[in-house]
Amino acid sequence: MLNDKDVKEMLAALDIDSVERLFDDIPESVRANLDGLQEGMSELQVRRHVESILAKNRDPRDTASFLGAGAYDFYVPAAVRAVMSRSEFLTSYTPYQSELSQGLLHALFEYQSMMAELTSMEVVNNSIYDYATALGEAILMAARLTKGTVFLIPEAMSRSKLSVIENYCRGAGIQLRRYKFDRTSGCADLESMKNQITDEIIGAYVETPNLFGVLETQLDDIRGLLDSKIFVAGVNALSLGIVRPPGDYDADIVITEGQIFGNPVNFGGPHLGVLACKKKFVRKMPGRVIGMTTDADGNRAFCMTLMTREQHIRREKATSNICTNEALTAIATASYLALTGGGDLRKLAISIAEKSRRLAKRLDELSGCKAPMFDGAHFSEFVVTLPKDASSIASQMLEKGVIPGVPLSHLIKGMENELLISVTDKTTLDDADSLVLTLQEVIQ
């Protein structure tokens, strides 16, 4: 690479004899090389090497799996992948130069519009890293909108999510307090929430379906309780095909995970943190927003707008530090939604809810099992209570080729015998059969 004709001509133009001269400004005292690395490989070697390592992974083709808890293995249509492979999208960056980037801007505007329809919210930004960080940003945003210092979150929240938002709250000095859940329904305990609402409260986060897969029923009551405090709702995006959208119960900020729409689970990332809010709050929103406008000829055009909220303009006064986001996964989601449409989304949501119901019922029939554990309504995920420790049952089932779900003890404390089970459109009847049979074998 470095002894070609070009290099010679460039060195001559620079009047130096070797590329090494260009590094004369790096003092000897800090010189270091890369001898710790290996020599390069050919493309074929890299492919073989990586494939051989990845062969050690088990994927859903090998192993029936009922994992969910924030990452959902739905089918990604080939057409979505075809869109993702369009290199004009793939190899571009933040559309700073709108004239040259109308395609991306147009697509992201559609993403905003579709997500706004889905959530019934007025404004949607162009992505936060993932659900957990979107929640972190949502709390920071809520804090900018009020004078409070304390934010209410549910008792039932996974360790990971909690840790992320604790980190997001640390700098701003926001204190997190928990409200309880009802042990029978699995829903929020409104008394507990109510008792904690004081002047110092910024607002509350309500998750529906929550960690247990239970859909919150008292959303209007919560809105009432919160009054002018900020209501942050976290939802399962697909559930909105059949479940009341947050705009309907007047949530102020909404977050969800867009991965479910057209993106693979990817071992947890890239995912797609979605953040929506009321339009009156848009100036306090983190992340990028695309607006429609016109060009010099008066034709429709798009551009990034409200950039004065952002770090590259506002620096330490920015609404967030986010720069590189998850735009490509947002494009995937836009294309997925355009291919699916509201009607088919509803059908898909119905079929998933029904599938989940059927599976819960079958598990409930096994002796010593209760499914779903809670009375509340569910969407795609539910907790099953097992007669024994869920982790060890899961390990035994894995040996028989089934990953039965997430032991709840991996997510929160104090629920040893519980397993969180999730279905997707890829879950077949065969999968369900092997789950039920294998579980039966293992608990006998």
Partner: protein, 482 residues
């Protein structure tokens, strides 16, 4: 014959098909409590596969990426990413792995992450690595949370982060998110002013954030003096690794005595930028900070690998799962393919291209500060001001010549800045053409420049109107035209 971007009359999907809102599509009885049921079907029009693909294909043609042409967006390292990376990242054994699978079923992924941690430690000269941050800015945030936890553990209350005026906008923004006050110091001759630094540093200083080479493309040769100032004051030296592309194989942040480093895998290690993301911003630290890294870190465990959550002083988590695995895998493949010599050559060629292009550009534009550059340089369009031309006009006009414009108006200390980073994947032919275009643009009439671009899919976009009207969704649009 000259460049012309495609133009397609693409409506919004909402204008192409209708919503099934009105149509009855009841949720089966008993599936949900009545008060939970969504009444309307979400108004998202359904396109046939043909329509969807054609729509996004048309849109893609109205977008410009590295695969479309030269994209010298300074600070962003818009280098070409080998296509093999895309194929590897979409293998089912890479993409369809669930983050909560039992460890024994993801040994392949864990091995790659483990090896990548080690590779990055070598490349940065640091001791321990967290791959969790999802982008550079999150790496900064994470790094500063580590600094904070470190000082707190030592019983020190350090509330300030110092940074130079050349620093990237994410640096101050991240510092604030991590709870620090920001102290900005002015540069001198394009480098850190050691006196200003000494003056700014105190027992309140938690860290100094620096990228080296800095955003002017200038190597901070006094970096060891800077380190000494910081360390003597009990403060840390934070390295913004966005510019590591310029120094691989020549020096490391570790050798330069930085304490905490983030990398931008999507820049130096070739992941395509995806129209804004995803990225990945690993944090690499010296041994004494290893105990503060986010959990989990990938560790060796017998013959295999595991996710180690047992990190006593860990700051906890900054991402719902483990960060952007898809990006890490690409970086891993890229490092494997290049190896030590390939990475070193990448840095060399990047720096050669940058200095060569600077030489060409200097003929007709001022490039403040003399001397060598590393991966990028910043020219000034100030000489054009007298004829009423702004740097933004030059940028827009470059579009007509088929080039993506450089970063403009940053860093702020250069008047009418044009920040140009050619990267190593470009050849001389392209650099010559770009310089030629810039040379003729400088001579063009203000009319031409003010009316640029003419060859993009649209004419100059009215950003002021956008901010005033705030049409952010199709619904906003419908209201606006009413």
């Amino acid at each position: 014959m000259s460049f012309r971007q495609a133009r397609h009359e693409e409506p919004l999907t909402f204008e192409m098909a209708y919503c099934e809102v009105g149509e009855s599509m009841p949720v089966p009885d008993g599936l949900l409590p009545a008060n939970l049921v969504r009444k309307d079907v979400p108004c998202i029009p359904k396109l046939s596969e043909r329509e969807m693909v054609r729509h996004f294909t048309a849109l893609s043609q109205m977008n410009y990426g590295v695969d479309s042409g030269f994209y010298p967006l300074g600070s962003c390292t818009m280098k070409y990413g080998p296509k093999i990376n895309e194929e590897l990242a979409s293998l089912p054994k890479a993409a369809d792995i669930h983050p909560l699978q039992p460890e024994e079923t993801v040994q392949g992924t864990l091995q790659i992450l483990y090896e990548l941690q080690n590779m990055l430690a070598t490349i940065t000269g640091m001791d321990a690595v967290s791959l969790q941050p999802a982008a550079g800015a999150q790496g900064e945030f994470t790094g500063l949370l580590i600094a904070r936890a470190f000082h707190e553990k030592n019983g020190e209350e350090r509330t300030e982060v110092v940074l130079p005026d050349t620093s990237h906008g994410t640096n101050p923004a991240s510092a604030v998110m991590a709870g620090f006050n920001v102290v900005t110091i002015p540069s001198k001759d394009g480098r850190v002013d050691l006196d200003a630094l000494s003056a700014a540093v105190s027992e309140k200083t938690a860290a100094f954030m620096l990228t080296n080479p800095n955003t002017l493309g200038i190597f901070e040769s006094q970096v060891l003096e800077i380190a000494k100032i910081m360390h003597d004051a009990g403060a840390l030296l934070y390295y913004d690794g966005a510019n590591v592309n310029a120094i691989m194989g020549k020096t490391t942040p570790g050798k330069m005595e930085f304490d905490i480093v983030h990398l931008n895998l999507h820049k130096t290690f070739s992941t395509p930028h995806g129209g804004g993301g995803p990225g990945s911003g690993p944090v690499c630290v010296k041994e004494r900070f290893a105990g503060f890294l986010p959990v989990p870190v990938v560790a060796k465990k017998g013959e295999g690998y595991s996710l180690n959550y047992d990190i006593p002083d860990s700051i906890g988590k900054v991402h719902g799962f483990y960060g952007n695995w898809g990006v890490m895998l690409r970086a891993y493949a890229y490092i494997l393919m290049n190896g030590r010599d390939g990475l070193t050559e990448a840095a060399e060629r990047a720096v050669l291209n940058s200095n060569y292009l600077k030489k060409l550009v200097e003929r007709f534009l001022v490039v403040p500060y003399s001397g060598l550059r590393k991966h990028e340089f910043v020219a000034s369009g100030s000489s054009l001001k007298e004829k009423g031309v702004r740097t933004m006009d030059v940028a827009k006009r470059l579009i007509d010549y088929g080039f993506h414009p450089p970063t403009v108006y940053f860093p702020l200390l250069i008047e009418e800045a044009l920040m140009i980073e050619p990267t190593e994947t470009e050849v001389k032919y392209t650099l010559d053409k770009f310089a030629e275009a810039l040379a003729s643009i400088v001579k063009e009439s203000p009319e031409i420049l003010h009316n640029a671009p003419q060859n993009a899919s649209v004419k100059r976009v009215n950003e002021t109107e956008a901010a005033k009207k705030l049409i952010l969704t199709y619904r906003d649009y419908l209201e606006d035209i009413e």
